[in-house]
């Protein structure tokens, strides 16, 4: 196995309780002792139900929140304590695509401005040619650069979000539920786009999702979380064909199968 690009080592994250007029809430152990490696160019799917800690873990990896315990290594460097310039360097190499393309783009900025943001932050060239290349790489046209987010459909907005993530030419992208807010007919477009970009650019991908069906086609490896712990991880074929953990199996069993011949409810009578 090659040297991992991103390595989460025994990561834990606890949220402290909050005081209210009527007592204080309990501390929440969102992530407990999770270790996960992602190799360069590899796609790992982080799967779990709500409250499993998958989103918190991705935020720890992105350094959007700090781990309570454990280390995060990026390309061999401990980034857990990075500040200032070091953190900026990490942000250039590791970018993010958010779930909701409706709230994650500033409605008062043109697409061009949204895309130049990260370029400016890192002092990278941001001439027209760069922007044209960026926007076409996600399947949009250069003339879209002068428009505002509300002029686009959900799928197109998510393309803009992906273009923004690509702007600094990162080595890895973390995508948090990248298609769950999109229409079914658009999901495949966006998943295929992510897969193509990964193949062209040798990107490593961490796709966070609650839907095992969605990540089936794109992931090399799958990691399953439950209640803050990693219950199983392995190559995609093995997880889907022969899950070891009973929780993984129950998740797979619960996914609706788009084939009426295999359902448990009786079929309607035919003539």
């Amino acid at each position: 196995m090659p040297e991992p690009l991103l390595s989460l080592q025994h990561v834990s994250k606890t949220f402290r309780g909050r005081a209210t007029p009527f007592g204080s809430s309990e501390a929440k152990h969102a992530v407990q002792d999770v270790s996960l490696d992602i190799a360069p160019g590899e796609t790992v799917a982080l799967v779990g139900e709500s409250g499993s800690g998958k989103s918190t873990l991705s935020r720890v990896a992105l350094r959007l929140t700090d781990a309570t315990a454990g280390r995060v290594l990026f390309d061999g460097t401990d980034v857990t304590q990075l500040r200032g310039r070091g953190l900026r360097a990490l942000r250039r190499e590791l970018s993010v695509v958010f779930q909701d393309p409706y709230t994650s783009l500033n409605p008062r900025q043109t697409v061009a401005r949204i895309l130049t943001g990260p370029l400016r932050n890192h002092g990278l060239p941001r001439d027209q040619k760069v922007l044209d290349e960026l926007i076409t790489s996600v399947g949009l046209e250069p003339e879209h650069l002068n428009r505002y987010p509300h002029q686009f459909s959900g799928g197109q907005r998510q393309r803009i979000g992906i273009a923004r993530a690509l702007a600094t030419q990162p080595r890895m992208i973390i995508a948090d539920e990248p298609v769950s807010a999109l229409d079914v007919s658009i999901r495949a477009q966006i998943l295929n786009l992510l897969g193509d970009l990964r193949d062209e650019r040798g990107l490593a991908l961490l796709v966070v999702s609650h839907d095992l069906a969605v990540v089936r086609g794109i992931a090399d490896r799958v990691a399953v979380m439950q209640d803050g712990r990693l219950v199983e991880s392995g190559p995609v074929e093995q997880i889907y064909a022969d899950p070891k953990d009973p929780y993984t199996r129950s998740l797979l069993d619960a996914v609706p199968v788009p084939d009426p011949h295999r359902r448990s409810r009786p079929l309607p009578p035919t003539e």
Binding site: G17, R18, A19, T20, P21, F22, G23, S24, S25
Partner: protein
Amino acid sequence: MTSYIARRLVVSLLVLLAISFCVFMLFYSGPSDPARVMCGKPCQPERLTQVKHFMGTDKNAFVQWLDFLKGLFVGRTYGTGAEAAHCSAPCFGFSFDQRQSVTNLIWSRLPVTASLALGGAAVSLLVGMTLGPLAAIFRGRWPDALVRGGSLFLVATPAYLLGLLGILLFGFQLNVVPVSGYVALTDSPVDWAWHLVLPWCVIGLINAAGYARFARNQMLDELGSDHLLAQRATGAPKRTVRRAARRGVWVPITTLFGLDLAMLLSGSIFTERVFSMHGIGDLLIGGVSSHDLGIVVGTALFGAALIIVGNLVVDIVQGSIDPRVRRG
């Protein structure tokens, strides 16, 4: 619950301490020297020293602040012998001009201000909570336009202007209400209310404008909410649904109301001036113009304390209306 209130009270005390320090330093480092004002003109240097000693302003500001705090809890006595002036706890300071403790002054003015504040707040809540939801129900039609236009007009109108217009119209032109002065509730409840009608309306209407706009928007949110749609889906008639929507409006309104009431109780400067009512606002203005720093610091702190207590009360009331706040 009890432990929460205790904790909040401790925090509130600390905040008040900090505020008192800031207010104290701010006013006492200002250009006006209360001792010089007190000393009169001409003022001999020896006399000035005496006055300063008497007022306690010969010590440094920090020690003065500590004296002030001590006064709050155990009271203090200025000077000695026949001239001595006692200010019993809680001593919010002493007005040498009026030879009275600020606590007494505030206490004597409180009925006026409280009458103004409670009545005005009641009017504003009544008018705002009637017109706001009404405007929301008639969204886009003339009642809505009227309420929105009217509230915009009122928000932009200064209290003194509205007060003066009211006096001109109802006092002098129509001659239906008295235009100034205050009659104690205990003397004559009728006269008390009669004298307050106009100022209540002024304070009430100006604040009602904010409530109406806020309540309208909240009501629109409520009316568009899924839970009211779901309620209609069970077969509830529109009347029932609107009643439920109004309840949803009360929760955020409470916050606004609690803070507004605290603000009003700390004195309405313009309204009191316009209607020649000697409340706390009037006391503060008098203190400022006569360089009576005791009054200025005392009333400022009194206002701050009210706001903090108001905040605490709002949080507790909020919890009893909204079950989601109750259990973290």
